[in-house]
Structure formats: C-alpha cells, structure tokens
Amino acid sequence: MWLRHNPLHYFLLAGSLLSSSCQAVFSDEAFHTDFQVQLFGTALDPSSTFFHQAAAGKTGSLLYTLSNRLVIGAINPKDGAQVWRQRLGEGTVSESEELSKSAWLRKSKDGRIVSVFDKAIALWDAATGRAVWEYSASVTVADVITLEAENLLVVALKGGEVKAIKLASGEIAWETLVGEGRDVASNFNLVGDRLFLTLSEPAATALKTVVISPATGAQLETFIDGVFGQSDNHVSTPQMLPITAFRDSDQLKLNTLGTKQTKSLGVDSTVHDYRLHSVTQDTLFIEYWAKSPDSATSWADFYTIKDGVVTKKTSLPYENAISVFSLSDSGSGIFATRVNRAEIRIYDAESENQVKAFELPKLLPAEPLHVVAEVVKRKDGAIAVRAAVTLADGNMVLVRNDQIVWTRQEALASAVAAEFVDVHEVEDTLEKTLHAEETSNLVTAYIKRVTRHIEELKYLPGWIAGFQESILGIFGPATPTDTAITKDPFGYRKFVVLVTRFGWVTAIDTANRGEVVWTINLGKTEILEKDIKGIFHFGKGVVLVVLTSGDIYKIDAITGKGLKRTAIQILPSASVMTVESPTSDDRWIIAIPARESVKGWFWPDEKEEELTKALSKATLSRKCEGSTGICGYTAKPIIGGRLILTPTWSFRLPQNQKVVSISTRPAHDPIASIGKVLGDRSVMYKYVNPHLALLIASAPSSSSIYLYLLDTVSGAILHTSIQTDADTTRPIVATIAENWYVYSYYSNSDARGTQLVVTDFYASATKNDPARLLQQNISSYDQPRSTSPYGISQAFVFPHPITSLATTTTRQGITTRAVLLSVPKLGSLLAINKRTLEPRRPVGREPTAEEKEEGLFKYEPYLGVDHGRASLSHIRDLVGVEKIITTPSLLESTSIVVGWGIDIFGTRTNPSEAFDVLGRGFNKLALIGSVLAVGVGTLFLRPMVRKKQIGQRWAQ
C-alpha cells in the first residue's frame, strides 16, 4: 500500500479533476442534443449575390445573397457564418426558373440593400438585417434603381407606372404613368442625370425608351428605338450602361439608349445562355456558355462603349469546359475572374492577358453555376482574389486565392425528399445470431456462441479505449469523435438521406450536429418534388432512390457509395412501394401504374416465387388515376419483372370533393397496450388495425372538409366526419398513429381560427368490452357493421396556422406520443403531448377523482402555446421547416425528430421524460467525488482507529 504513504497524491488528483470539470458546467442543455443547419438556399442569380460593405465606416464586406428559396441575408465571408437572414414572401416557392425574373437583391445607399419579390419591395439595413421599410405595389415590379443624389428608390411596375420612394422614409416622392398602361416596362438605366426606362409596346412591337427626370418624375423625352418583335425578350442589362439589351432566338441586340443605333451580335444556336456584366459605363463584358450534348464550352468577350458605339475589344479564350465569369473593379483595375472546377484565373480588361492563375488544391465537388469575385491588386503587383462560387450541386464555396475557405451546404435547403436511415441496424446482427442459436441444437449452439465470443474479443481494445473516454467524458466536455461509425449505445446516430432539387443525394448525421456524411450525384440536372417516387430502405444500410423517370439508384447509406444504377420502365404516374419477404431478407420494389389494365413492375426481377409468397396476402393501395380516391389491388408476379394487377376495391370521392391528403400509420408504430386503463380500473379497448388510412378531402364549393378512415385491405369505410365552414384554401394537415388521428384546418365558424381536432378510436363504446380484439387472428374482410370503431373527438383552437403535423415514434410504443407541429409563424417546432390532446377530457366541469387518477384534466377549448415546454426548437429561429420526420432511438423514452424544408433542425425528444437514461443534470462528478472522499477518509481513519484499538487493549 504505497498509497497510504502518499496521501498528498489524492489531493492532487482530486484538485486536477475538479479544475478540469469546470468547462462543461453551465452550457445550456438545449443546445447539446439538438442541431440546426441554418440555410439560405442556393444563390439565385449572380446579380443578386454580391460583396458589399455593411456600413459606411466599417472595413471588410459581407456577402449578400438571395436564394432560390427566397431567403435574403448576409454571410460573413471569413468563416461562412450567417450574419442575418430574412424571408421574402409568405408563400412557398416551387420553381426556381421563373424566380430570378421576379426576385432580386440590389445594393442601395448608406449600407442599405433593397429586395424585390413580385409585388413587394423592401429596404433592409445591411448590417443588421432589419427592415427599414416595405412597400407593396399593385402589380409586379419590373425594375428598381437607387438614385443616390436624390435619395430616391425609383420603381417601375410592369404596367408602366413609375414611383419614386424616399429612401429614408418609404414615402412616395413622385409617381408617373408611362404609356397609358399599355406598355410593358422592363428596366432602368441611369446615364448621367437622365433616367431611362425601357418599355416594349406589345401592340406596335416597338421598343420604347422614356427619359424621366429623377427629381420630379417628369417624362422628358420618348424615343421609339426599334422593333421589338414577338419573339424578342429583354435581357437584364447593368443599369450603369447606356445601352439596353434584348434578344431573339439567334441574336443579342444592344440598343444605345436614346438612339436607333442597335448592334446585333450573332449568337450561335449552341449557346445555352449568356450574361452581361459591367462595372463601369464604358465596359461591357459578356460571358457565354454552351452545352452541346457531349461537351460544354464557355468563353467571354470584352466590349467598349464609346459615344454610344459598342465595339468588341478582346475575347477570353474559348474552352471546352464549364467556367463562369465575374467582373470586378477593385479601384486598381478591372479584372475578369474565370472559375472552373480546377482553377481560378484572373484576366485584365486592359491587356487581355491572364494575369494570375490559382490552382485549387482539389477539384470543386461540382461544376460552378455562377461566381461573384473580388480581385485586389496590391501595390507590389500581387493579385489576390476572393470568389463566392455557387456550384451545380446547389452549395456555395468561398475560395480565397488557391484555398477553399468554407463550404455552405445550401443544397439542403432545396431538399425534395428526406428519409431516416438506421445506422444501427447495420450492426444489429446480434439479435439474429441469438435467434439462430435458439433454433439450432445444443452443441452447435454452444460452439456458435463460443466462436462468437472469441470473435467479439477484437472489440475489447476499442471498448477499453471507449471506456476510458467515457470516464474522461465525465470530467470534461466530450471531445467530438470522428464521424466514422463508432458504437452508438443509445441509437442516437441516424442518417437523414435527402434528395435535393439539384440531383444530388446527401446524408447528414443526427448525432453530429447535422454534418454532411456523404453526398452523391444522381446525374440529373434537376429533380423536383414530382420527379421523385421515394427514398426506400432496402435492407441493411441500403437506400433506394426511385425517380419518376424509372431510374433506380441503389446507394450504400453508410458510405454513400453508389452500388447500382438501373432503370425500369415505369409510367410517370405509377406508385412505388417496397415489399419485404416475410421469411427471408429479400426485398423488392414494385410499381403500380395508375391506369387500369396495365401491368405493374417489380425490381429486382428475380425470385418470383418468394415475391408471390410475399404478395399472396397483401393488398396494395394507391391513389386512383386522377386522384379521385384510393384503389386497392392484389398482385401476382410473372416472369420478366411484371405484375398482374387485379383491382379489389376502390373508394372514389364524389365529383365536388378532391383529395387533400392521405396518411397512414407510420411504418414503425407499435402499440404496447391494446387498452386504456380508466380511473376505475376498467379498460377501454383501443381499435387496433394496422391497415388504417385517413383520407382528407375538401369540397371548396361547400367549404367543407371530409374525413374518411379506411381499411386499406378491404376498402371498408370505418369512420367519416365532416367539418363545415372550413377554409379549404389554407393548409389542412393530419397525422395518424396507434388508434387516433389529429388534423388541423382553418375554420370560418364562430370559433374562427386554426383548429386542431383529435379523434381516438376504441373497439367499443362500453368499458371492458374488447369486441374482437382478443381473437387469435383477425381479418379485415370480416368486419361486420357492429365492429366499426367507436370514435371520440375533441377540437381545440390553436393560435397559429400549422403547416405540418407528425407523431413521435419510440421503439416499443410504451412512451406517450407527442404530436409535433411545425408553426412557421413562430419559427419553431412544437410538441404537444397526446395527454393534452385527449378527447376524454371532461368538458365544462372539473374532473372527478377517478378522472384525475387517469390523468385527465378539464377541457379548455383554447390550446395556447406553452413556449417553455412545448417548443422543441427552444429559442432557435427555424426558417421554412415544413416537413417533420421521426424515428425511434434504441432508448424507449427517446424519439429522434428532424424537421426540414429550408433549415434542417434535429433533436431528441422524450414525451414521457427521460426515464431510462441519466440526464445531463446528474452529477457524476459528485457521485465519484463522494466515493473517493469516503475511500480517502477510510484510508486515513483506518490506521488511526487501529492504533487506538491496540492502545486500548494495552491499557486494559
């Protein structure tokens, strides 16, 4: 016992432990288990993305952007962190093509920036992101221009109205109408103190320019500059140039403002698109890029404009690769920046030479879409560049010289589908092994077990290392381990596989703050929500992405490797679902076309007998052709990967009703107890049916919504209900789980507002009556009317519109459910416990003792938002979280929740408190400290006591 001689060691040890523990004490728990990926979306247009000084006095500029999801904001170019962001437009955004024509972001004066979306104009403080003023026009805005001298923002509306708004106050300074409302305004140009508005006169096919006095708004002159044919289109022209540009199919026409002089540039039919750049009045830079079927090319030209004459000066070389250009004026010269996947090159406008080339350390992950760059020429002649490159995969990278400084995963804001992948199930072979041991005979089972144990010895060093780490983790903040698959005892690690609009599949890790684990290109330029049939689990750690085109991508969900790519010929309207073999590990996907009497498909087209077995008792259901209802089929596979479909039932809505949504119980939705125990110890038996589907239909003509609860095997209607006075134009969302559903709609009745209705289904209205629930087997075809479920409903008024509903799921379904609500008005994700949404709550009276014992409390029609407890997102501001997905963890108490849309928010929630895991509040240090203290005390006291005892004996 050398320790006894050195008690000082204990003090030193205890002291060192205490001092190291202080780092992890006061951090907020909320920000440990959850994560938010704050996103803008992909930069829409190079003219709406720019470096700009946030405030006049400040050095250093921020990167401003307007995204395809209509989010504007500022990014710190140093580290890629979000400075601020705001959302334009309340509605959802679907198509990005049209957006760049109706939404843009411009620099303004005094550290302000101006945003335009459709009819709304807003001026923002560039440093803080606060709105200075907002203005809503009556028609779509055609162009805006800031007149610095006059302190005005001049707005041209499509119809020809021109309004000048005072920058400081947002008041109208003057307004005028150009062309009696018949002309279509396109863009402004400011030349000297003459403000030109270009319009086209559709009736006379003329291009018209009107000169407006910036001070008074008086229309000084009107020119008819040339012919603007039917096929002509305006091209966005930099406002400082004295020209306006328009195009037809094979020519780009540059009209010098106020003259009939138009220079036509022939544009090859292979040219995909071109952009006009300018930084001074006399330089025009046009970049072109062409995509022929086999190769992409790009080039650019410099033009000078002198006395209204446009002349070509130099050309940047023609290259067989996609590169994008940016023009910048740093004060020390005008430079064009050319970016492709491998390098950044700088060209000088004066000398047409390449002045500098920076080779990137590795290829950019995708081709660039557009770039904004700042080039600085130092006094010693050195060139430095900073370029924000938007890539074809939807992400943005910032490159400084030859280094990639940061990458923002902006593509995730454009996700069109998302699904959880269970990382744990890959390792979860133990269960099967044990099962195998059970079934085999004693000797082989024993041998198997021993060999398994010997095999598992290889995990021992890792386990010891991990043990050490977890001990150290008690004393300090857990060091983030690498994202490689490490043991995850509680099953918190799940990957969310997202398919983005840009044709990429990305997986993020819920246990590692939403970091991207892998990403893979599907080779499609654009995937919209309608283009994707689904993301399917396909066995252990494998996901299938199925597109409407029939392409099937088999991806290893752990590593992101593409395993197989194939295509089956399916009709675009087909529904795709997975079938699992009940006896083996085989899986298939099957596609069921909407059109009657067309055969279905299955893939992989092998093991028909197995599939026949799997489908023998199965009813497949999908939306009927034209979304008129639900149709059920039985299927029989034949050789060649085809399925013979036999319609078994269909449920069609009346003419005036249309399908709003169809929801089914989650794939993993165990019911732990088939009854609900009441206060008097009697039981209300739940209506248990795994084949439930809730169809919500709306009838705009009668402003009603109809709810149909169907059995998807027999097609029987189990329950219907109607809500009249509903606003069918607002979101109607629903979620169904266990024996209940919850839906939300906007009611125009006396209780006007968003209503949240919950309906529970029981096997029978009487207590202790299990109806047919205690039979060994149950058939959906054997459902006499007397066995239809008994439903109880209660409605609540909710203060905010709800755009999405979901339910938590846990491993065994013992934990109470929580209903998850996405409330965009609040910018948060709320959870309401199912105990609150309980239709048996007593109405208009206090609960009796028995009801209290059952956990019921008095019904209150107004369901307020309990921000303290209900908000899963805590104080975070979630932008555009529209869809919620949940999955169980290995802990019964915990469900993993991820919301996506624009931002991605993930958290773990315990609807019934964390009853099976020690909370963060548990003081392990105190426990270990007291054990150590007792140990040390014993070591000290033992010799003393012994000495005393011996002394006593001698004294006797």
Binding site: I674, R681, V688, T712, L773
Partner: protein
C-alpha cells in the same frame, strides 16, 4: 379423596394462606382481625370439583378465543385511517394483518392445549372454531384492505398486460404519393 396424599401435594394443591402465620408470641396490633382471611382460606381449602375446573377452563378458553374479536374494530379503524396509498406504514400494517392471524392459526392447538383435557376436548372444539373464524375474519379485513389498495387482480385492467392484439391475416402495402 380416599387416597392419602403426601403433604407436599396437599401443599401444592391448596393455595398458601395469604399471610405467613404470625409468630404467636407477637400480639396482633389492636383492632386487627384475622378472622376474614382465615375464613377465606378455610373455604379455598375445599378443592373445586372436576366439573367446576372444566367449566372454568372452557370459560378461560372462550376468553382466549374471543380476544381477536376485541381487536377487530381497532384493526378496521387503523386500516381505514392508514389510507390506500402504498407507503411503508400501511404496507407494514397490512402485512401484520396477515401475519398475526396466520401465525395464530398455525398454533391453534398450542394456544388451547392448557385448556385441553379429556372432558373438555369435545367442548373445546366450538371454541377453537370460533377462534379460527375470528382469525379468518381478521384476514378478511386484510384482504379488504389489500383490495382497497388495488393490489388484488380483480379488475379488467390487471390482466391487460397479458392481452395481445390479434395477428392480422392480411398485409397492406401502400404509397399515396
């Protein structure tokens, strides 16, 4: 009493006089009379008949048998007062309510053995039965208490955990996208 008995037997059977004989040489204090006590002792000297002893034994046995009845109301009040929550005191008291009667029941023979005799044996049976009945009554109170505490599986909900949903004969696969 034909048999002559040894002196010590007689001494044993007759209760000793309440007071040791006063030494004759010491006179009693004035006013003290020994006549009352001497009369009594004279009476006790005549031994009770066997029938009388048996009656007495049965009487005693009844007293023992009915003792639990006296504690019944007290037990009931205590059980009522201790509430139906599962706490250490109510659990302990309820446990005692079972333990004591069971212990008593297991030693019925012992309890009544000193009253047992050839003559009393038959008459003791009813006494024993009454005793057993009363102990069972105490247990019934205990059962009532346990039931009130919700520990008896008498309701439907107690068997819910062993009830399982039926296995559906069909499967359904759907996608409504």
């Amino acid at each position: 009493m034909a048999l002559s008995q040894p002196a010590w037997v007689i001494d044993l059977k007759t209760s000793p006089s309440s007071r040791p004989k006063a030494p004759s040489n010491v006179a009693d204090p004035p006013g003290y009379s020994t006549s009352g006590s001497s009369k009594k002792s004279q009476k006790q000297i005549t031994p009770p008949t066997q029938a009388e002893t048996d009656d007495l034994k049965i009487k005693k046995a009844w007293e023992v048998a009915l003792a639990p009845a006296k504690s019944l109301p007290m037990n009931m009040i205590m059980m009522y007062m201790s509430g139906n929550t599962l706490q250490i005191f109510s659990i302990m008291m309820t446990a005692m309510l079972f333990m004591n009667p069971l212990r008593a029941l297991s030693s019925v023979g012992n309890t009544f053995s000193k009253f047992d005799g050839e003559a009393t044996h038959g008459r003791l049976l009813t006494v024993k039965l009454a005793y057993i009945g009363l102990q069972i009554l105490t247990i019934v109170i205990g059962i009532w208490k346990v039931n009130a505490m919700g520990l008896l599986p008498t309701t439907r909900s107690d068997w819910l955990a062993w009830e399982h949903a039926p296995v559906p004969l069909e499967t359904s696969i759907s996608n409504f996208r």
